[in-house]
């Protein structure tokens, strides 16, 4: 018998007659505020601050100026077809990892964000690019639109498609492995800058 049949056979023998309990789903699914509510934007900002990310809040009209200001003096890469206004940015047309490693910053959008946990989700959709793009450059500038911000983790997951490769980012990478001292910025981008765009 193959290992597969062996293991499945053992599992069926071990669980014969065991019935699955009903799963109580009385935990919170929806938050108190609709997506984009200013209170959620405040909460998201507070959480990201806590993770030592930098947050800027701008209107759509202010966005181009703010992006130019943030990235002043940096080489910047954007995903192909990026709708974000940043003249002069390089486009990731399947750049080699070594090339991405030489670029100062990557500028992307996101798929959704969760205020309660300060989490930004990337799904490789428009304006986000492949996973290597938001991983190798040392700075990640991420534009979050107000109506992408939901309150709870269940609301966040409901907005995402598991068939796509997903990355949940809650602040820059960090380690506490040395005497529990938190050091922000290890292997992923050491700097996370979030630009929150309100209407």
């Amino acid at each position: 018998m193959s290992a597969r049949e062996d293991i499945l056979g053992r599992i069926r023998a071990a669980t014969a007659g065991v019935t699955a309990p009903a799963v109580p789903r009385d935990y919170r699914i929806f938050g108190d505020h609709a997506s984009g509510d200013p209170r959620l934007l405040d909460l998201l900002t507070d959480r990201l601050d806590d993770y030592k990310a930098t947050v800027h809040r701008v209107t759509a009209a202010e966005l181009p100026g703010k992006l130019a200001e943030i990235t002043l003096g940096w080489s910047v890469v954007v995903p192909p077809g990026s709708p974000l206004p940043l003249p002069g940015a390089a486009v990731d047309d399947d750049l080699a990892y070594a090339d991405l490693d030489r670029i100062d910053a990557v500028l992307t959008g996101c798929a959704a964000a969760c205020a309660e946990t300060g989490t930004i989700a990337l799904d490789g959709g428009p304006g986000q690019g492949r996973r290597a793009l938001t991983l190798i450059p040392d700075r990640h500038v991420c534009v979050v639109l107000a109506d992408q911000v939901v309150q709870t983790v269940p609301e966040l997951l409901h907005r995402l498609d598991p068939a796509r490769p997903l990355t949940f980012v809650s602040g820059p990478s960090a380690t506490s492995d040395i005497e529990l001292n938190r050091v922000e910025g290890v292997h992923g981008p050491r700097t996370l800058i979030v630009v929150l765009v309100t209407a």
Binding site: D6, A22, V23, L166, S170, S173, D177, I178, V183, V186
Partner: protein
Amino acid sequence: MSETFLGMPAAPKGVGQLRGDADFPAAARAALADGQLRRNIGHATATIRAKRAKVVGEVPDWQQLRRAGEAIKAATMANLADHLERLEREVTARGGVVHWAGDANEANRIVVDLVRATGADEVVKIKSMATQEIGLNEALEAAGIAPVETDLAELIVQLGHDKPSHILVPAIHRNRAEIREIFLREMPGVDPALTDDPRRLAMAARAHLRAKFLSARVAVSGANFAVAETGTITVVESEGNGRMCLTLPRTLITVMGIEKVVPTWTDLEVFLQLLPRSSTGERMNPYTSTWTGITPGDGPQEFHLVLLDNGRTRVLADPAGRSALHCIRCSACLNVCPVYERTGGHAYGSVYPGPIGAILSPQLTGVADNASLPYASSLCGACFDACPVRIDIPTILVHLRSSVVDDHSRVSPEAVAMAAAAWTMASPGRFRFASRLLRLGRLIGRGGRIRRLPLFLGGWTEARDAPVPPAQTFRTWWRKR
């Protein structure tokens, strides 16, 4: 008792890390003599406990989430074979390849063969309990393949030729000066002016691993969760080394215990809330990655999922012990355990230390091989209160103790030389007091359950009934021998 699970093989001897060189009391005695170790562990557990309490306290539906997590895990186990077959179908449909490994040796063979087929002689690794459990690094090295641990703590452990001492912070037994020395000694090309500033040390690790990440052809990971209905694998991490491994190499090999499957995508909304807050005491860990098979043009283009039994079906076959498989490896039970706090992780001899290790390791190996571990506890119940999926560790400990007692002909004399453990538990007066209270419980318990316990045990019994301890407690038991 040990014959109950006939036909359900235990994790094999001679491979991997589920059995220690010495039994718990002997190993604990050595640990207790190490003041530095005790201070480091004490500091770590106290700090994480405080962080966890703060972020758990701000979740209004924490108890509902725990109950949901508990039920999802129990429901998964009830139909585990179906969920694994579904997972296999979905992963395969998306271009992944699923392998089944009955035990550590089979899993190691599968991974070694897969790496060999790529022609690579080095693999980058994300911290993974499963691959430690099966001794994958040793198997790779024996095959001439260099495994590179990329989690900072695992790197410290690997470069220090050492063993992990905690699930979450495996190098917590090392202080910054020791880490600096290890890096200076073992890290090629490291700046000789390296100081013991944690930031400088972390940046030395970053520089050391950067080139490896950018050129690695094969990565090996574990998995925190695998969603059966979608074939989606999830890895939860902090440093970004996980993302590097999961994204950059061409080939990704994930080794996952069969119990890590969850039925639906919706189930993740429960565990992604329970795990980070219980584990690191964060609202959310910095990075979580999920992937489903292969995505053309994005990430690894070859994906292998190795499903590992290695004693798990044996655990599953015991109705009184199977909930040990519900563990999501958050390490909260370690951080609240008064025994762990004094002995650290090495004393448990297994990759799984602390309260969860005391119930999981003996079940995976068979109780005779880890006979002292079910006694490595004062039964104070703090582990149950902390456990995000409500595993009733104290009751399982009592159950396993009765297996050891039933099976005492198989217990080696060493296993019952419990002097150091006794010292541990007798040291703060409250343990003696607690065990007396628990013995009293035997007199008052009706129907095998204790309804209420006084004093500090109260917090425990508010949430659940305490198991009635066996007439022979640990202390009286070891004294007799």
